[in-house]
């Protein structure tokens, strides 16, 4: 019985759901089946978010508080999460008539957005420091290629008014060099990205068929 619910049944459900969704792209009659299955998947995904939140609070930060490792930060995170959750719930209950959600908007605009923007800005500084120190720490070919790539991408993203005309044409040699570099980057980037996407697609197909044909059963024990 335990094997039925832990191995056999999940495998069968997964395979059937996958087959229905797969065949729905070929057989329009199965579109409704696919929509139902996708709805179930969305609900499960939403529930997974809640489960992740609970697990983050109870399984990670509570443990850290008990162990005394970064208890301050964990406690601050838990209090902030509880405060925000309480405020939003109270807002939905008390200010249900106001569709603008003023409290949550205020919190978002005056707390979350400035803080995360600041973190994004610091990220640029961290990247600059890391690039500066990279060859000091590891002078390898890969490190050199990495830095050269970063330089080229940065330079191709930077507008060069002294080299590019307003209509986009190259105004001088630097403009031509800029476009040459831009084309190289685009080609290399596009080619590399396409290769990655193809690999991902093939891997997805292989994985899908392995799951559909019971070769891989990640859903079972």
């Amino acid at each position: 019985m335990r094997r039925l619910f832990t191995s056999i049944l999940p495998t069968v459900i997964t395979a059937l759901a996958g087959l229905v969704v797969f065949l729905s792209f070929l057989l329009p009659a199965l579109t409704d089946w696919r929509a139902s299955l996708v709805s179930i998947a969305v609900i499960i995904a939403a529930f997974a978010v809640v489960l992740g939140f609970v697990n983050l609070i109870l399984g990670v930060h509570i443990q850290r508080i008990r162990q005394g490792q970064g208890a301050f930060y964990s406690l601050s995170l838990i209090l902030s999460a509880m405060l925000t959750l309480g405020v939003l719930i109270a807002e939905r209950l008390l200010l249900a008539a106001d569709p603008t959600h003023p409290v949550s908007t205020f919190i978002f605009n005056n707390i979350i957005t400035p803080m995360q923007s600041s973190l994004g800005a610091l990220l640029a500084v961290f990247l600059a420091v890391a690039a500066f120190r990279m060859l000091r720490r590891r002078r390898t070919a890969g490190a050199v290629w990495f830095l050269l790539s970063a330089l080229i991408v940065l330079m191709t993203q930077v507008p060069l008014p002294f080299a590019i005309n307003p209509d986009g044409s190259a105004a001088n040699f630097l403009g031509q060099l800029f476009y040459s570099a831009r084309n190289i980057v685009d080609a290399l980037t596009a080619g590399g990205m396409r290769g990655l996407l193809l690999g991902v697609a093939l891997g997805t197909i292989a994985t899908a068929f392995r799951v559909l044909f019971f070769i891989d059963r990640p859903q079972s024990e």
Binding site: Q116, A131, L135, R136, R139, Q157, V158, P159, F162
Partner: protein
């Protein structure tokens, strides 16, 4: 009969498949050659084509009269098919006997069985075809019987006269042999059974019962005598003078029955009858020779046996007591020395009635026959000139004890056993056997025999105290065993006096014991005096000298009492003794009654004397019988088990000369097939010792390994030294320099971003270093603008905010210009997000854009959509009428989901993307492929889009300065980062740390 070409099993005519192995049988009437598959006519022994043997050697070729398959398992010469002759049908034979086919029998037994069958068949056909398969010695025996053996009168109707007994069938539903047994049951106490013998009773028990000499039917006997194997006839001829007991385990039914030669007419079982018959007549085993002419058995009992149901009745009432002057006694000595007979048999025949001198000539299995017979304490030692088993028949006293335990024994067996008791008290031996002058104890003879044979021999004599010791422990384990089995096991050897007293009470616990088992279990132990008085050793010792195989059973007909010395007979016996018998005799002759040698001495306790190795092949009832056997006969093994022991194992048995070695070694095996063997499989402790040879690992040492080893040795030789400071670890100054560098980089970025707000760098440098809003390239944003501008009126645009406030500084301008364009077009907007914070961003941006333009445009915030790509698919399915999808993605993965799902959903929905500058290179494949109709990338793209459309506040004059400052700050920060990376790379090339790290 159809003999299986695979296993040789005989199957009934008409059978399609073998009963034993399932092999398809050839059509009836033909025999398929196992070698060339040629169909040969029935009855052929050898193939017409290739000459291969068509039927097993033990069996006769198909005969039309055959209707009974070969017996398997326990076997002694017995009648297999009596339907075709004079006896009852073979179905009357117990199953265990019927199943005793050739496969489980030793060869010699198989031959015996085959011969018997053939003989039985030939009785009706009057063709001695059976002799074809017989060994020479058997043929010789059979050939000599008719001429040499005078026929004794049968006490009961012989099998040939089954017509008379056929009218007296008791029950038809019950096997006849059993019904006959029941019929004889009431006569147990009376010892004068009067139940009529069933017509279907097999011939052999009837012949056995014919051991009573009172009633004889010479004509019938004569008629059937020709069908008896000659050697059996000779045995029968000796029977009056040779008390014998057939192997109990082999013949639980018939083996213990006395057989009169005169009654052994139609079946070879007669030899059993003759073997057993004299048992009650054996005088007390005393050193003094038995009187030559013992008074004949009581005529009353003998005459009663005529009316009894079977021969067993005769046995029960003491009819076994043969008349003193049996015709066999009067056999001339010249007849004994037949020209075809080996010398030892001749001698044996001549001295059969004398002493144990002839015992040596008798095979052990015959000697064991006597083991099942009780030895009366007062009976003369008759084993002098007979085989061991024959000698042991002189123990009616022990037989007399058995009825106490065999109340459930089949009647016929019970009666058979009952013959012992009256024989001890009243019956006189029919034939006087001269006791040897120097009688040997039975115990010694048992010890000298192989284990399995020793088991067959009678229980050693035990005194009262010995019996008490041996009896009690045997009774303990019987608590969980069936009553009848417990009774069997608990059956102690008793002396004659005690047995006589314990007959009645002992019969109670045996109520559930099968009759025949009880009868078997009733193997009479012998008293010590009796055993010692039996001169078996004399008969055994010469076997050691056997050099030449001889025919194992070549017992002469009744010979003159004045037997030749056994020594004179030995050489002949040795020469003609078969190999198997020689091996047995050698084993039996091993003078090691103690120690772990093969022959287990009778002094050993019963549990040690048993031989479970044989039990593995024995049926349960035989095993139980073995366990329950009295002390003297614990090794109640059968010839079958012994036959299954491979020769190599037999060869391992300690022989003469090995005794000393074995005594010094470990104890012998007491169980299993290795019972009696020692040092064959030396005991090795499982733990604490290393098994096998020490493991050795071959390590291939290369030059590199040697160099490393040398280096390691050198390092060890240097000794400990002060560790040097680790070079790579940053010191305090290095930490300060690193921190200062970090702050300098951060300061440079901040300065670069703040400079545009304080000064016009282009004017200061007189160089168009930083871009201007009016000169931004708008090529990239024109496609996006065109896509939105071409939306039909009333369309709905799905705007996805796939970013969070972290990227809001770059992404919000993009969202602003696109939302304003949509609002300007009057397109309804549905906002959603695959990021949990995206919905808030969407709400804020919508409020900012709609407040400045128009609030009449429909706006719906769908919120956060879980499931990533699944959520995208769901959104598309919910809104199939969407005219445009605008994905504001700070990560290329979000854009990929939308591209894939839109293509998968077959929706012809245009997709434009507002991307961050960092995600734009990774989105190029979708942009170049046209799956993304237009892009707005980064702040520059947003400003260009605003400048191009003129709809965004970013493009207004009031925002120009601010937008210009933002554009210049971002551009200058880009340059600053490029400069920092270059400085870092160059500084790293010349820095020490970098070189050290690289090294």
């Amino acid at each position: 009969m159809i003999y299986c070409s695979n296993c040789g099993t005989a199957n009934r005519d008409g059978s399609s498949f073998c009963n034993e192995c399932g092999t398809k049988l050839p059509a009836s009437g033909s025999i398929k050659c196992p070698m060339c598959s040629t169909l040969n006519p029935s009855g052929k022994v050898f193939c017409d084509n290739c000459g291969a043997r068509l039927v097993p050697a033990l069996a006769e070729p198909d005969a039309p009269d055959h209707s009974t398959p070969l017996r398997r398992g326990i076997s002694l010469p017995s009648k297999s098919d009596v339907s075709g002759s004079k006896g009852g049908p073979v179905e009357n034979v117990p199953d265990w006997m019927r199943d005793a086919s050739s496969e489980e029998q030793p060869d010699w037994l198989q031959r015996l069985a085959g011969n018997s069958t053939g003989a039985a068949d030939d009785q009706s056909a009057a063709e001695p075809a059976a002799s074809a398969d017989l060994p020479d010695w058997m043929s010789n025996l059979s050939a000599s019987v008719p001429a040499e053996t005078p026929i004794q009168p049968a006490s009961i109707e012989p099998p040939t006269t089954s017509t008379t007994s056929a009218d007296q069938v008791a029950a038809e539903d019950v096997p006849d042999w059993m019904s006959n047994l029941r019929a004889t049951a009431p006569s147990l106490d009376d010892t004068q059974p009067s139940a009529p013998q069933s017509a279907e009773t097999p011939d052999w028990p009837r012949n056995l019962s014919a051991g009573a000499p009172a009633v004889t039917e010479p004509p019938a006997v004569r008629n059937v005598a020709n069908d008896i194997p000659e050697w059996l006839s000779k045995l029968a001829g000796n029977a009056p003078t040779v008390p014998m007991t057939p192997i109990k385990s082999d013949l639980p039914a018939s083996g213990t029955a006395p057989v009169d030669k005169t009654e052994s007419a139609d079946i070879p079982d007669d030899w059993l009858s003759r073997l057993v018959k004299p048992a009650p007549t054996v005088p007390e085993p005393t050193p003094a020779p038995a009187p030559e002419g013992e008074p004949p058995a009581e005529e009353s009992s003998a005459s009663d046996s005529d009316a009894s149901l079977d021969w067993l009745t005769r046995l029960a009432d003491g009819s076994m007591t043969m008349p003193e002057e049996s015709p066999t006694d009067s056999l001339p000595a010249a007849e004994l020395s037949a020209p075809n007979m080996p010398d030892w048999l001749k001698e044996f025949g001549g001295t059969l009635t004398s002493e144990s001198t002839n015992t040596t000539d008798v095979p052990d299995w015959l000697g064991n026959l006597a083991a099942s017979m009780p030895a009366e304490s007062s009976a003369p030692n008759t084993s002098a000139g007979v085989p061991e088993g024959l000698k042991d028949e002189d123990r009616p006293a022990v037989l007399g004890e058995e009825p106490s335990e065999i109340s459930d024994v089949p009647d016929w067996l019970r009666e058979f056993q009952a013959t012992g008791e009256p024989a001890t008290s009243t019956a006189q031996p029919a034939f006087s056997i001269e006791e040897p002058a120097a009688a040997e104890p039975v115990a010694e003879s048992v010890a000298a025999t192989p284990d399995w044979l020793a088991a067959l021999q009678p229980a050693p004599p035990m005194h009262a105290e010995e019996e008490a010791q041996s009896f009690e422990p045997a009774a303990e384990p019987m608590t969980e065993t069936p009553d009848w089995l417990a009774a069997l096991q608990a059956a102690p050897p008793m002396q004659a006096e005690e047995e006589a007293q314990s007959i009645e009470p002992a019969a109670e616990p045996m109520t559930e014991t099968p009759d025949w088992l009880a009868a078997l279990q009733a193997a009479p132990p012998m008293q010590a005096e009796e055993a010692r008085s039996v001169p078996i050793e004399k008969a055994v010792e010469p076997k050691v000298k056997i050099e030449k195989p001889i025919q194992p059973i070549r017992i002469e007909p009744p010979a003159p009492i004045a037997a030749k010395p056994i020594e004179a007979a030995q050489p002949t016996a040795e020469t003609e003794m078969p190999q198997w018998l020689r091996g047995m005799s050698q084993a039996s002759a091993a003078p090691a009654p103690h120690g772990p040698i093969a022959p287990i001495p009778p002094e050993l306790p019963p549990e040690l004397r048993e031989e479970p190795a044989v039990a593995a092949d024995l049926p349960d009832w035989l095993q139980a019988l073995r366990k329950g056997a009295p002390a003297g006969g614990t090794l109640a093994s059968s010839g079958i088990a012994q036959g299954e022991i491979p020769e190599w194992l037999e060869a391992l048995r300690p022989q003469i000369g090995e005794t000393q070695l074995i005594d010094e070694g470990p104890e012998a095996e007491t169980e299993g097939v290795l019972a009696g063997l020692a040092q064959t499989l030396p005991s090795v402790p499982l733990m604490g010792e290393v098994h096998g040879t020490p493991a050795s690992l071959k390590v291939e040492t290369s030059a590199q390994d040697l160099a490393r080893a040398g280096m390691f040795q050198e390092l060890l030789a240097r000794g400990a030294s002060t560790p040097k400071p680790v070079v790579g670890l940053p010191g305090r100054g290095a930490k300060m320099r690193r921190r200062v560098g970090q702050w300098l980089i951060a300061l440079a970025v901040l300065v670069s971003m703040g400079i545009p707000a304080k000064m016009d760098l282009n004017k200061a440098l007189s160089f168009q270093l930083l871009p201007h809003l009016d000169k931004l390239p708008t090529t990239a944003v024109r496609l996006a603008f065109k896509t939105i501008d071409q939306l039909p009126d009333g369309s709905t645009a799905l705007v996805i905010f796939d970013y969070d406030p972290t990227q809001s500084g770059e992404m919000n301008p993009i969202a602003d210009v696109l939302l304003r364009h949509l609002i300007a077009r009057g397109t309804a907007v549905q906002a959603a997000s695959l990021n949990p914070l995206g919905s808030s961003v969407a709400q804020a941006e919508w409020l900012k854009a709609s407040s400045q333009l128009s609030d009449t445009v429909q706006f719906e915030n769908l919120g956060y959509v879980a499931g990533q790509s699944i959520g995208v698919q769901q959104l598309l399915e919910r809104n199939p009428s969407i005219g445009l999808v605008v994905d504001l993605a700070a990560s290329p993965d979000n854009l990929r989901w939308w591209v894939e799902q839109i293509a998968a959903s077959n929706l012809q929905v245009p997709l434009i993307a507002g991307l961050s500058a960092g995600a734009e290179p990774l989105a190029l494949p979708y942009i170049r492929s046209g799956q993304v109709k237009g892009t707005v990338v980064g702040l520059v793209g947003a400003l260009a889009y605003a400048q191009y459309t003129g709809l965004s506040p970013l493009s207004t004059a009031s925002q120009a300065t601010e937008n210009q400052i933002h554009l210049e700050a971002q551009t200058l920060a880009h340059w600053m980062l490029v400069l920092i990376i270059l400085i870092g790379m160059l500084s790293a090339l010349f820095s020490r740390g970098g070189r050290r790290s690289a090294a």
